[in-house]
Amino acid sequence: MRIVKLKKENLFPFLEVISKEADLWAPVKKYEDKHVFKAVEDFSEIDLDYQRTIIPPRRILLPPKTNMFEATQNTYKEDFSNVSKKIIFGIHACDVNALVIMDRFYNFAYDDPYYTRARENTLILGYSCWPDEHCLCKSTNTHIVTEGYDLFFSKLDTHYLVWIGSSQGDDLIRKQPSLFNEDISDKDIQTYLNWQKEREDAFQAEIDFIDMPDLIELKYNDPLWEELGKACLACGSCTNVCPTCNCYNVYDKPILGKNASKIVRCWDACTLENYSEVAGGENFRENRADRLKLWYTHKLQAYISKYGKPACVGCGRCIVSCPVDINVLTVGKTLSGEKVDAFWKRFNLQVKKEVRK
């Protein structure tokens, strides 16, 4: 690992240099307060002062709908048209950590070529961030990066400190080394440390994830799940915005007038109605409560028991997305016995009241 320094005004020139051979993806403003990752040509569109994108950067690697094959009766032609040289710039620590989880997942047992090829062609240029009230990443220990990035930019007053995390990252720097310098002063170090400390203290949301596997086991039959199930709109948003969700569906899209098809994969969500339905109509998880339990068990129990850390990177997307406030924070807190203020709680109280009437 090496750390170099980049003057702020040198950032765009640097992006200019590196974007010559790859598409540059960066956060841009979509709504007043919401951002998305977009392939940018005009750098002035880039808005680094963002909290979290609506959909995590995994969509750049595996878009919601990907064509897998062009098929005929006896030929299958792989379609890797989504694979191209890409650089994702401005990605926050939580999302970098999520990609580490995704990398592991897609390489596990079998190699998923659609992900891995896209991933191999993508460079990750991380960027430092400041937490808001929904950021949980300190609790998941994903507010800092230790792996999974090629370069990581920490913003100081007039400079960026740039961590070089891989050989490819180093190649990027070498495209125009004159933009960087290596004389990091003591003052710079102090500024960085102060910033680091202030940031650590700025986190507001917190959950103890270590207890989660046991709590979920102990509360397996808790009425909580039914309460969540009653309020859940089963819209699938929590899964679609989650940076570590990976479920997908495959369908055969025949081409009119030809004996040929496109085989398409599209994101699926375990919170949706027919996620666990098999041919013949049997549905293993018809209840919303069961499906929610699966999601939380997967994120907060199974992954922790297997890898010692949750499959949640604390990005806060489920918190800002769920219209009925079912998210890692409210569910996690309720499991730990804390009181929370959430729509699903109020809703259940209301329903109970009306039943009593």
Binding site: I54, C232, A234, L256, N274, Q350, V351
Partner: protein, 260 residues
């Protein structure tokens, strides 16, 4: 496997004819559509229509006159597969809003007075499955081009597509839209069948529900949520009912009871 073309009829009952028009709107595929199947009857597009036995009948529009009931039953008898296309055929359309026969009668009188129709008697608008068995449903107001083409191509080969039970929210998120419900806007995305491509939300407008109600949609929860957000109860109900035809009648009745 066999190359003999399937016999297909496309029929319009009462509605805006948008679903039949959408088939004509597949300009680039139109000739392929006519070549891939034997289109026996399609009144909007051709005059040499034959009304005989069919493999597949696509029916759009709601049943609104006695004559249509007869026509529909006749179509059912001659077809192996009947597909309801569009909101009117699947749920009854916006015109199936008056669930109470008394209210419908009053409204009808307001429009037509006491006139006695000579050509055919009117009946309250209903989806086609109120009178016949329906094999497949293609929802939408109007149906979508891609949805139709996938369905059409698959059914020609005898493989109906798998039924999705997703709400609009799924595609809405694919398109990376911000949740309007979360912003306090009355959006029916979670209660509405997916397939339109979340067009309205892509245009910063809330989902009006025009693809018809999602069977498993959690209406109760959204109703309370909207109520909590300060929407007028009557307004919520109307919004939910606008494009739900006869299909959420029991839910609306449930709400009436609660009020009492």
């Amino acid at each position: 496997m066999e190359n003999s073309k399937l016999k297909i009829g496309i029929y319009e009952l009462t509605g805006c004819a948008g679903d039949a028009l959408l088939i004509l709107d597949c300009e680039k595929e139109l000739i392929d559509i006519f070549n891939a199947a034997d289109i026996q009857s399609f009144v909007m597009a051709k005059s040499d229509n034959i009304e005989g036995d069919l493999d597949i009948a696509l029916v759009e529009g709601s049943v609104t006159t006695e004559k249509e009931i007869e026509e529909l039953k006749d179509i059912r008898q001659r077809s192996k597969i009947v597909v309801a296309i569009g909101l009117c055929a699947t749920v009854g359309g916006i015109q199936a809003r008056f669930l109470d026969p008394k209210e419908w009668n009053e409204r009808f009188k307001k429009v037509y007075g006491n006139i006695e129709m000579t050509h055919t008697k009117p009946v309250q608008s209903k989806p086609i499955d109120a009178y016949i068995d329906v094999d497949f449903y293609l929802p939408g107001c109007p149906i979508g081009k891609e949805q139709f083409l996938i369905f059409f191509t698959r059914i020609l080969k005898g493989n109906p597509p798998e039924k999705s039970q997703n709400p609009v929210c799924v595609t809405c998120k694919y398109n990376e839209n911000d949740c309007l419900l979360k912003k306090g806007i009355l959006c029916l995305g979670p209660l509405t069948e997916d397939g339109c491509g979340a067009i309205c939300i892509n245009h910063n407008l809330p989902c009006a529900g025009c693809w018809g109600p999602l069977k498993t949609g959690n209406r109760t929860s959204e109703y309370y949520l909207l109520k909590e957000k300060g929407f007028d109860v009557e307004h919520i109900k109307k919004k939910m009912a606008n494009y739900s035809g006869t299909k959420i009648a029991s839910f609306l009745k449930e709400l009436e009871k609660e009020k009492k």
